[in-house]
């Protein structure tokens, strides 16, 4: 058993995994960050169903929410030109996540009483000024827990990127296993250790986030 550990957790391998964790986290943070902005725009537009842009936002959200992420990863990585696969894969994840976040933001917007909008207008705020100073701050305060849960989901979703050879954590665990087989006879203990180790990393990160979310929900004013 000890030899299994010393086979797997060599210096270079640990570094290899660490960079995988870093890549996964970087992708997830960037994706959620951009998706919050894009998703908010979509959510605001969707509330104006009579405008053409509002209809388009609705169509966008429905298309992305009702088709699998993997499809969009394959579409972006294999049919788009320019950028690296990592960039195109992250674009797919961003397009997909934006549609989910758009619905979260819309839930937050709809929870704000109509009077707030009317009051804002009556005080001479422009539409954008009102959103910026009155509506969105209240909206985001309400949806912070949901957005945090979305980070958990997105961290899990990055593992789909391993399918197109983007070197995030999951892909690296596959590569680490296959390169291991060149130096030692891979036993079931090796395979189990690698996968349980990788699952544990995801678990520790996501569970920590989930606990924070739960603590926030408990402390939130009803």
């Amino acid at each position: 058993m000890l030899s299994v550990f010393s086979d797997i957790f060599t210096g270079p391998n640990i570094r290899y995994f660490l960079f995988g964790i870093l890549t996964t986290l970087e992708i997830a943070v960037a994706v959620v960050g951009i998706s919050v902005i894009f998703g908010s725009v979509l959510a605001i537009l969707r509330n104006y169903e009579k405008l053409v842009l509002g209809k388009l936002a609705g169509i966008y959200i429905e298309i992305f929410r009702n088709t699998p992420l993997l499809l969009w990863i394959l579409v972006c990585v294999f049919t788009l030109r320019g950028g690296t696969p990592l960039l195109r894969g992250s674009l797919a994840l961003t397009l997909y996540t934006s549609s989910v976040i758009a619905e979260i933001v819309r839930g937050g917007l709809n929870a704000i009483p109509k009077g707030q909008f009317e009051a804002g207008y009556s005080q001479g705020f422009t539409f954008v000024g009102m959103l910026r100073y009155i509506i969105l701050p209240q909206c985001f305060q309400k949806i912070v827990p949901s957005l945090m849960s979305q980070i958990v989901t997105t961290i899990k979703d990055t593992s789909f990127l391993g399918q197109v050879a983007i070197t995030e954590l999951f892909y690296r665990s596959k590569i680490a296993l296959s390169s291991l087989s060149q130096s030692v006879t891979v036993s079931s203990a090796h395979v189990f250790t690698v996968f349980l180790f990788v699952a544990l990393i995801y678990f520790v990160i996501n569970f920590t986030l989930s606990c924070i979310v739960r603590a926030m929900q408990k402390n939130a004013p009803a």
């Binding site: 009702n66 088709t67 993997l70 394959l74 579409v75 827990p145 949901s146 849960s149 990055t158």
Partner: protein, 242 residues
Amino acid sequence: MGSGPFALFRWQKLFSDYRVFAEGLGVTLVVAVLALLLALLIGVALGMLSSSGVKPLQAIARVYVEFFQNTPLVIQVFFVYNALPTVGIMLDVFSIGVLVIGLYHGAYVAEVVRAGIQSIPKGQTEASRSQGFTYIQTMRYVILPQTIQIILPPLTNQAVNLIKNTSAMAVVAGGDLMYRADSWASNGFLSYGPAYIVTGVLYFLLCFPLASFARKYEEKLKSRDLVQTTAELAVVEEVVEC
């Protein structure tokens, strides 16, 4: 016409090979239905454990839910496909799909059911226990039937996510729609464009009606019985974000 990504011949090729897509759709559908049944079974059982008030039982449900919700489905599928055979547990990709996707979504359904049970006033449980109902009977005849309408929208959304997540089978060459479309496109004339469009449309046709039903049903509930139902929905929604 030419040889662009959406050239006519690519579409002709796709329609003459329609069986590939039809079979993939069939696998996706059957896996989705069976996995959903498994998820409902696990979800109701765990949801009842979580609400039992018995600490060890609650802990079991908690550990299960946290484990499955906080690790990626892709890893779980890959683990069952690659690691279990090394200790003699061989499953075909179809069974892996049903089993792992069912187990994974079972965790989410468990949280929906738990929230549904929470939304029913405690007095109901106390009343039926005082009438001599066992815990299981209380759940079966009194509590769970009342939760159905409140948990139906989030459950339907779970079904949509489950259908989309069947594509995780593609990671282990699962024979599902996503896998077949992708391998068809990469083996033939690199007709990615038409293959992905058809695949996207098929998934959309499966998911959109369910998602629309969930939204309309929820709106109906909210408009019918404003105060109580909205409060109950809020309880359920708070727990169910995935």
